[in-house]
């Protein structure tokens, strides 16, 4: 079991315990609060889509069938169950396309709501069966978000829609007069606006990265194509190491921008077909500092500037610019270093893609070379995750 799954399961056990206490001994609220805190922590580390899809469902069903304490027990218990499944299955990192992963997540969330409610309150079984149908319809109508957004986080919107509709249904079943459902208009309208703004922001972030890639590509054609390949592989490697979606996205941005500094290096040196002199090599070495400087001075993604600065450091301390050792090198830099070196060996798949000073190596040979350098040039744990990522890419 990987660290992500064990961490999730551990937190889930704590949350489940809190739920049990809340049901058996309602006066022990502090423990419930602790459970919810743990739940929030788990959600932060895993996939926050779960919270959006499950929370409205379970809270509303809880209110409808038994008041606040039941609602909280439902919420905590169901989220514990959901996180356990997510952690154990490694969902979100399975080798499926993003759309399939989103559908799978949504389906499991909906089925989970049905199973848990049926187990805890068999009398409401017919109602939850209907809620399952509504949820399924909501999820399918929300395909617009998946296909319209075409961004990895696009499924948030669909899950929000599914949760909202199920909330309305649950209140219809329960004790609240229908007029109060008007209160749901606020979250629905504000939620739609939030999703739209968030999508636009994501699109513009992507456009910014594309713009900067084009900039590098103009100055140095090899580097432009190389950046896109490295970004995809670095993200997969990061996910295999248990990085959450947000951090993996940042890693992707860092991988795209890791050679940005090369725009300020003479391309005659970058493309020199023969061996570099010491001065020329020293000039090329400046690119990691220049890239970090561009981001720091502009304020664009300042959090990734240190990763770019250190992407040529080595665990054995023989890297540059500072000669850092082991864990002193940020994990993201270690990932980029490994993927960058692999692509530099194989990188021939696009026009102008071949580096001028050496012949390309076949992918298997390049992987063997990376494995050979594990522990010296590359981080051992990263190399393992990288090898899995390459395997997943081949499978895909």
């Amino acid at each position: 079991m990987n660290s992500f799954a064990s961490r999730t399961l551990g937190l889930s056990a704590l949350v489940a315990l809190s739920a049990f206490v809340a049901v058996v001994q309602p006066q022990l609220w502090p423990l419930v609060v602790l459970g919810i805190g743990a739940e929030i922590g788990a959600l932060y580390w895993s996939d926050r889509r779960w919270s959006i899809s499950l929370a409205p469902l379970v809270v509303s069903l809880g209110y409808a069938h038994g008041g606040v304490s039941t609602a909280l027990a439902f919420e905590v218990g169901l989220l514990a169950w959901g996180l356990a499944v997510a952690g154990a299955s490694g969902m979100g990192r399975v080798g499926l396309p993003e759309i399939a992963r989103s559908l799978l997540t949504s389906a499991v969330a909906l089925a989970g709501g049905w199973v848990v409610v049926a187990a805890v309150s068999p009398t409401s079984l017919s109602g939850t069966a209907v809620s399952w149908v509504i949820g399924a319809v909501a999820a399918s109508s929300a395909l617009w978000f998946w296909f319209g957004a075409r961004v990895p986080g696009g499924s948030w919107g669909s899950l929000l829609a599914a949760g909202g509709l199920m909330t309305i249904f649950a209140f219809g079943l329960g004790t609240v007069a229908p007029i109060w459902c008007l209160a749901l208009l606020g979250p629905i309208v504000a939620g739609a606006w939030a999703v739209r703004e968030w999508r636009r922001q994501r699109e513009e972030d992507q456009a910014i990265l594309r713009g900067l890639i084009l900039l590098v590509q103009q100055a140095h054609p090899y580097t432009g194509a190389h950046l896109e390949r490295v970004a995809a592989l670095a993200e997969s490697t990061g996910r295999n190491l248990g990085l959450n979606a947000k951090r993996a996205q940042r890693l992707r941005a860092a991988a795209i921008l890791h050679d940005l500094g090369k725009v300020a290096i003479d391309e005659q040196i970058l493309e020199k077909p023969s061996r570099l002199t010491d001065d020329e090599f020293a000039e090329i070495k400046r690119h990691s500092e220049l890239g970090a400087k561009i981001l720091e001075k502009s304020g664009l993604y300042p959090e990734i500037a240190p990763w770019i600065l250190a992407h040529h450091e080595r665990p054995d301390g023989r890297g540059y610019p500072f000669g850092l050792h082991g864990d002193a090198i940020p994990l993201e830099s270690r990932i980029i270093a490994c993927v960058d070196a692999f692509d530099a060996m194989v990188g021939v798949s696009s026009v102008g893609g071949r580096r001028s000073y050496r012949e390309p190596v076949d992918p298997e040979g390049a992987i063997q070379e990376v494995l050979r350098c594990a522990g010296t040039q590359f981080d051992t744990e990263v190399v393992e995750a990288f090898r899995k990522a390459v395997g997943q890419e081949v499978m895909a």
Binding site: G67, W198, A219, S298
Partner: protein, 201 residues
């Protein structure tokens, strides 16, 4: 009680969603500005020795914009255009940017940059500002300042300003020319000739 919880829950979710939406809305122009600045810094590093820094250029331009009563949106557009105006350097060989006898190559940068910007949806709005035949007030002001700083490298500032003031063509709007000359005179009036400085250390 249940009704109260319902309203409170909905209000909480609404506030959260509004916060997400407003944050995203505020963040977008901020990110655009930073991205433009990243282009500006990158091109300064690539371009080598010429003219004032983007910051200095931007401050002077903003003062002129303020004197002309430009709106906040127009001044933001001005600041961003200044940052991306040298994007054409990316497509000019590094050595050519550093050899004075190849200055003609460097002069093609705006045209090359406009072509590049047109390919990028996020910055395509700035491409016209770099083309002499299509630029708006923002592009005109940048062109005027470029002319001033370029000519000031070989002549006293006051001479250059007098020449700009006496121009009779319609390259620059008359009011803009007056405002620009006023601000430039206040800032550089006593300069004999501007030495070339490194844009970014």
């Amino acid at each position: 009680m249940t009704e109260l919880l319902l309203v409170a829950g909905c209000a909480g979710i609404t506030v959260f969603c509004l916060w997400v939406a407003v944050s995203a809305r505020k963040r977008r122009p901020l990110m655009l500005g930073r991205a433009a600045r990243a282009v500006g810094v990158a091109m300064s590093l690539r371009g080598g020795l010429v003219g004032p820094s983007n910051d200095e250029f931007g401050q002077i331009a903003d003062r002129i914009g303020a004197r002309l009563g430009w709106s906040e949106a127009q001044r933001v557009r001005l600041a961003n255009t200044i940052q991306v105006r040298q994007i054409g350097f990316a497509a000019i060989p590094y050595q050519h940017l550093r050899q004075p006898h190849l200055h003609r190559v460097r002069e093609r940068a705006p045209e090359i940059g406009a072509d590049l910007l047109e390919r990028l949806p996020i910055w395509s709005q700035f491409s016209d500002e770099l083309r002499p035949t299509r630029r708006s007030e923002v592009g005109q002001l940048i062109a005027l300042l470029e002319e001033f700083f370029y000519r000031m490298e070989s002549a006293p500032a006051m001479d250059v300003l007098r020449q700009i003031q006496s121009q009779t063509d319609d390259r620059y709007d008359l009011a803009m020319r007056e405002a620009a000359v006023g601000v430039l005179q206040e800032s550089y009036g006593n300069r004999v000739a501007r030495p070339k400085v490194a844009l970014v250390d």
